[in-house]
């Protein structure tokens, strides 16, 4: 049986394998949202690239199921310790393992960040400014919206108003509730996107069939993951992607440059992949963990941590789920969980008494997830649990997606405990601060108001958190950040970080699209710099200029339609 990536696409063959003694140009650690785009771009540009992925190389037909419990292996299930005043749930909540990483189980909401997100310190005196602007990233947003591609309304009125290359999806029951409630309150809303889920077939990827199992891995191949959007093209162009390869540490040479990655294969055997440059794309927990585990003479507190900020300023978004019970049937399991939203409360409003804001989005928990939410939101157990679940089809669920600010005490460190490879595991600490608490309180109440306005007869809520970014933030000042605006570490000229961990702030938009757009931009930078990355320490901060000739096949469109 061929290795399938969706029902119509087959893993290109042969997959290139560099020999153990060969030195490659780039070793990318983590083939997820960012890593998938990076290896694809770099391979297309002719570099010799190895992608190390800790998890499996999924065959979507054999390995994935339309089943909640059966999808357990998609997540990063290895031990991590979580603490602080508001400890984050990890695993299925926010961490993927396997080629495609978290993009395999994201809901695929694909809104852009707003221009204001890049300068919240200047505008509101909170958090930090990015060392770049929205306008630097905008062409990459447009490019990635075409590559993955994004379906959504032609009119998206918030932030920098824009349209989407694929048409919006039909409305499901939960989206209808969001639109109804918002309309009653005079709030603008959009439905049918923006989501990185196909509303029409695209190349060898079929359109969505509305089965609702987005978070369990899309067997249909309609939902974008780098496993099916960028990795096949990377392999076609000679990238070597190694599954079951857990990076243990990055090796530093005497001259202060890295020369490769030590990793452990499926059998527990240690290997050394020599590379002329290393890019860490392990997401907001594994990236700082790897760099902390790579401490060595000259970098005693972790590689590229002269600022002392590595692991700090970790962020998760407020993700309170508000559930409303309706007299009529909703059947929330149909249609993608992600399919309608409002960003009316995204920007700072001084009258609210806190900085920044939140989005309101549909969510679609399947029975196991919903039962867990009801155990918390209603304290349901025993016969009460059986009763509330018998009404499963009468409930609709909306989520707050709220901006929590970057705080130094929210961090990733190393714990005493070791994993199955003998590597210290990550310890994650998360505390809410005053602004965050006010924002969550306001956001939760607003979403409950929308739910009541939609006609719910009962409304309950569960506090939770979504996504993970930060912990290796970018900035212009090497004493307060880990990497520059292209992801190059301030301390080591041929060591880069490219994933969600470099975000200085997070806005109230799902981070996936932004992570991929940043990866494409970093790739353009690396390609433009060429061999100088491998021997020079010169730090060129010029924008590279966008390359439109490096996209995967079938992704050339004339543009992203919008109504002015």
């Amino acid at each position: 049986m061929p290795h399938r990536l969706g029902p119509m696409q087959v893993l290109p063959s042969p997959v290139r394998r560099f020999a153990d003694h060969e030195t490659v140009d780039y070793c990318v650690v983590g083939v997820g949202s960012a890593g998938g785009v990076l290896v694809q771009r770099l391979a297309r540009a002719g570099f010799r690239v190895v992608g190390l992925e800790a998890g499996p190389f999924w065959d979507t037909e054999k390995d994935w199921v339309s089943d909640e419990k059966g999808s357990h292996e998609l997540y990063w299930n290895d031990l991590r310790i979580t603490g602080g005043t508001h400890p984050l749930a990890l695993g299925a909540n926010n961490s993927g393992k396997g080629v495609g990483g978290g993009s395999v189980h994201w809901a695929a909401f694909a809104p852009r960040f707003h221009p204001s997100d890049f300068r919240i310190y200047s505008e509101d005196g909170v958090g930090a400014d990015w060392p770049m602007s929205y306008w630097d990233l905008k062409p990459y947003y447009e490019l990635l919206e075409r590559e993955i591609p994004v379906a959504g309304p032609v009119w998206f009125p918030w932030g920098d108003p824009h349209g989407h290359p694929y048409g919006p999806h039909p409305l499901g029951g939960v989206g209808d509730v969001l639109v109804r409630g918002c309309t009653k309150l005079g709030l603008r809303s959009v439905a049918g996107g923006p989501v990185a889920i196909l509303s029409a077939s695209h190349g060898d990827r079929p359109h969505c069939i509305y089965r609702g199992f987005c978070l369990q891995g899309c067997k249909v191949g309609a939902k974008a993951s780098t496993l099916i959007t960028h990795v096949p093209d990377a392999i076609t162009h000679g990238a070597d992607i190694r599954a079951h390869s857990m990076a243990a540490r990055i090796s530093l040479r005497g001259d202060g440059r890295v020369d490769g990655v030590i990793y452990i294969d499926r059998e527990g055997k240690e290997h050394f992949q020599r590379a002329r440059a290393v890019i860490v794309s392990g997401y907001a927990i594994e990236t700082p963990r790897l760099l902390l585990n790579s401490a060595c003479p000259g970098h005693r507190h972790g590689l590229a941590n002269s600022s002392g900020t590595l692991g700090k300023y970790l962020m998760a978004q407020a993700g309170n789920v508000v559930a409303g019970r309706f007299d009529e049937l909703i059947r929330l399991y149909k249609a993608p969980p992600a399919h309608a939203l409002t960003e009316e409360f995204y920007e700072t409003d001084p009258r609210r008494g806190f900085a920044r804001g939140f989005a309101v989005q549909t969510v679609g928990p399947l029975p196991v997830a919903f039962a867990k939410q009801m155990a918390v939101a209603m304290g349901a157990w025993g016969w009460g649990m059986r009763r509330v679940m018998m009404d499963y089809n009468h409930w609709a669920t909306l989520g707050v997606l709220g901006e929590i600010l970057p705080w130094e005490d929210n961090r990733v460190e190393l714990a005493e405990e070791k994993d199955q490879h003998g590597l210290p595991v990550a310890k994650v600490t998360f505390n809410l601060h005053d602004n965050d608490k006010k924002l969550i309180e306001f956001g939760r109440n607003k979403v409950m108001e929308i739910m009541w306005a939609a006609g719910a007869k009962q409304v309950v809520q569960e506090s939770r958190y979504a996504h993970l970014v930060g912990a290796a933030r970018m900035g212009s000042d090497p004493s307060t950040s880990v990497v520059d605006k292209f992801g190059r570490t301030h301390d080591v000229p041929n060591l880069f970080i490219c994933d969600g961990s470099i975000l200085p702030t997070q806005g109230s938009a799902n981070p996936g699209l932004t992570i991929q757009a940043l990866a494409a931009r970093t790739a353009d930078y690396l390609i433009r710099q060429g061999d100088t990355i491998f021997y020079s320490s010169r730090r060129d901060q010029e924008e590279p200029g966008i390359r439109y000739d490096l996209s995967p096949p079938y992704t050339h469109f004339k543009g992203n339609p919008r109504i002015a």
Binding site: G70, I81, G91, D176, R331, V368, A375, G382, Y392
Partner: protein
């Protein structure tokens, strides 16, 4: 198993020994399995046909946790041969030490957490009622479990000073909910469409059923009248 029925009153008589509780009579997700693709069919069918043996818990521990699970996820209305395995699913997870990707810093590892809690619950039963938890009446079992649910253990036990009670309760509820609501018989009970690939859904709005789903047929459903696990506002 220490399963013990007590009648559920409802319009038209008692609800007990049902093939299928819930408001969707005649609906069967498993009847659709020919429309599922192979990997999903295999996963779901095995869940129904194979129950893992108890390997992690000792016999005594299994008996006690079984009694807890029977109250936390009661199935007294279900016919014996339509009971959904919950205890064996928890045991299998702990036996394989299959984690969910994290542990709270104030919690012991999952395996230890369950062993501690089992000990605590039995000690609570002994000290309050001078009987093992498994031998208590359903009402007395619920009194103890309700005190755990409420975060006010009655009587208090040293274990709950070592391990945060609310975290153990959440862990237990998550494991029970995962076992019960991942079973196709529970999907039938709540009217969930189940796996739908490659066929998909065509009626997304207004809660309309697919041709192979069933419309809801509501009736007055009541928990056992004296159960302590009813929702606060359900009556």
């Amino acid at each position: 198993m220490s399963r013990r029925s007590f009648p559920c009153r409802a319009t038209g008589g008692e609800l007990r020994d049902l093939e299928q509780p819930g408001y969707y009579p005649g609906y069967s997700t498993l009847a659709q399995k020919k429309s599922w693709e192979e990997a999903t069919r295999k996963t779901v069918t095995e869940r129904v046909e194979k129950t893992a043996p108890i390997r992690f818990f000792s016999q005594e521990e299994a008996a006690l946790l079984g009694a807890v699970v029977d109250r936390v996820m009661p199935q007294d209305d279900r016919a014996e041969d339509r009971t959904i395995p919950v205890l064996s699913v928890i045991d299998e997870r702990l036996y394989k030490n299959s984690l969910n990707g994290f542990r709270y810093e104030d919690m012991p590892p999952d395996q230890e957490a369950y062993r501690l809690a089992i000990r605590a619950i039995d000690e609570m039963a002994q000290s309050r009622f001078k009987e093992s938890f498994t031998d208590l009446t359903v009402h007395r079992q619920e009194l103890i479990l309700k005190s755990l649910h409420d975060g006010k253990p009655e009587p208090d036990n040293a274990v709950w000073h070592r391990m945060p009670l609310h975290r153990f309760w959440a862990l237990l509820m998550e494991d029970c909910a995962t076992a019960y609501y991942s079973h196709p018989w529970a999907w039938d009970e709540i009217g969930f469409g189940g796996p739908a690939y490659p066929r998909g859904y065509m009626r997304l709005e207004n809660g309309l059923p697919e041709p192979w789903e069933k419309d809801e047929q509501r009736y007055e459903w009541n928990e056992p009248i004296d159960s302590l696990s009813q929702l606060e506002d359900s009556h």
